[in-house]
Subunit: 228 residues, 2 copies
């Protein structure tokens, strides 16, 4: 699977790059700067060993992939999508990982702001071509934990989207990361709730002076693709 | 501990009554009708066995307790608080369990509305005497599962509040229910996120055609009272 990670030089993006490349995928790191993208890719290859399939380029070049994962802070999210819009083909699966933390407006990381469209993922969908298959995911997965390759992930990914097939494709990528499970949380509007969990987990981290609170969904032994 | 459950004839309230009484507490079920309150208490005593300490009365009489747990639908929440306000002494710990589901306005149970004060718990706080110690909790705990006494609870309670001592008291009650854990989610404003989890869990239930999705918080082996 040809995957690109827009904003792939940040903690969340670089962590996802490492984990997905280790899962056997070809990952392209996108950055605002070609040089930074290439340097991050080199760092990823060093960390993963010689046969890892990672390269780096600009966000615009990276955006021409089958699955485009976007990991940027909320304050730059709309601008980033506008800058890559022309490069994203209709039919592309775009995975938005943005949480609208209040840090975007100088506030606290355990508070959120409310995007006009309801969620950051819906804002992204409103910017892109209507034929793009938008999925929201990874809001409960710490970038720090993803980057620590010895760390066993212990959190579920809530996957939100209206296109069930696209959710299943993203779910398949998630299953390629050991111990990471995905839960179909419903349509894209459920991102309004899922995105805010980042702030709740940061608040819990703050209460307990830890840094890696996560969530597991209970009620079934296994999640993944819903039946029917 | 003298506990009352306002709206204790409903699923969530009756389930909490059963579990807390089984934990050894004296629980008073409050209802809009004295007769219904008394009938629910009788049913609880039958289910629990003869020595269970449960009685039933009106919401107004029940509201004079050390810990007042309020389990009513969002559409009736403000009115209920106004009706018991005079009976609640300053210093009382009030636990609001309301989730602002869109069903309150004829919408869907997997959608939420946004209370003017940010959360249902903050709305409750704005109605009551400022000396009341408000805590938000139990949004991720299914009333159905609570009522099924053979069912092992498998979900964490996110406890939100500004009064740490009050949170610890409520946490102690939660620990009296087997397998139920509590997590200090931060101050009362975090209820803006925690309350919406009810809708997210209902959405997950809908995706998988189940009825008891819950959440466990990961990152520590045990939660409960934060150090320091």
């Amino acid at each position: 699977m040809n995957i690109s990670v827009i904003g792939g030089t940040g903690d969340e993006g670089f962590g996802l790059t490492l984990r997905l490349a280790r899962g056997g995928h070809h990952v392209t790191i996108g950055s605002r700067s070609q040089d930074k993208g290439a340097a991050s890719a080199e760092k990823a290859r060093e960390l993963l060993g010689g046969d890892a399939n990672v390269d780096g380029t600009t966000n615009q070049v990276a955006a021409a992939a089958g699955v485009v994962i976007v990991t940027v802070p909320f304050e730059g999210q709309a601008e980033t999508y506008r800058s890559i819009k022309a490069a994203i083909e209709p039919g592309t699966i775009v995975v938005d990982c943005t949480s609208p933390l209040a840090t975007a407006v100088g506030g606290r990381a355990w508070h959120v702001v409310r995007p006009w469209h309801g969620s950051a993922a819906e804002q992204a969908k409103a910017i892109l071509d209507p034929g793009v298959r938008m999925v929201g995911a990874f809001h409960t997965i710490s970038g720090e934990a993803l980057q620590d390759l010895e760390h066993e992930m212990e959190s579920d990914v809530l996957v939100c989207g209206t296109d069930k097939e696209a959710k299943a494709v993203v779910g398949g990528l998630i299953e390629d990361i050991p111990r990471l499970r995905w839960v179909d949380a419903g349509d894209l509007t459920q991102a309004r709730i899922a995105e805010t969990l980042t702030a709740l987990l940061i608040s819990i981290n703050r209460s307990y002076k830890i840094h890696d609170a996560g969530v597991r969904i209970t009620g079934r032994d296994a999640w993944g693709l819903p039946e029917g």
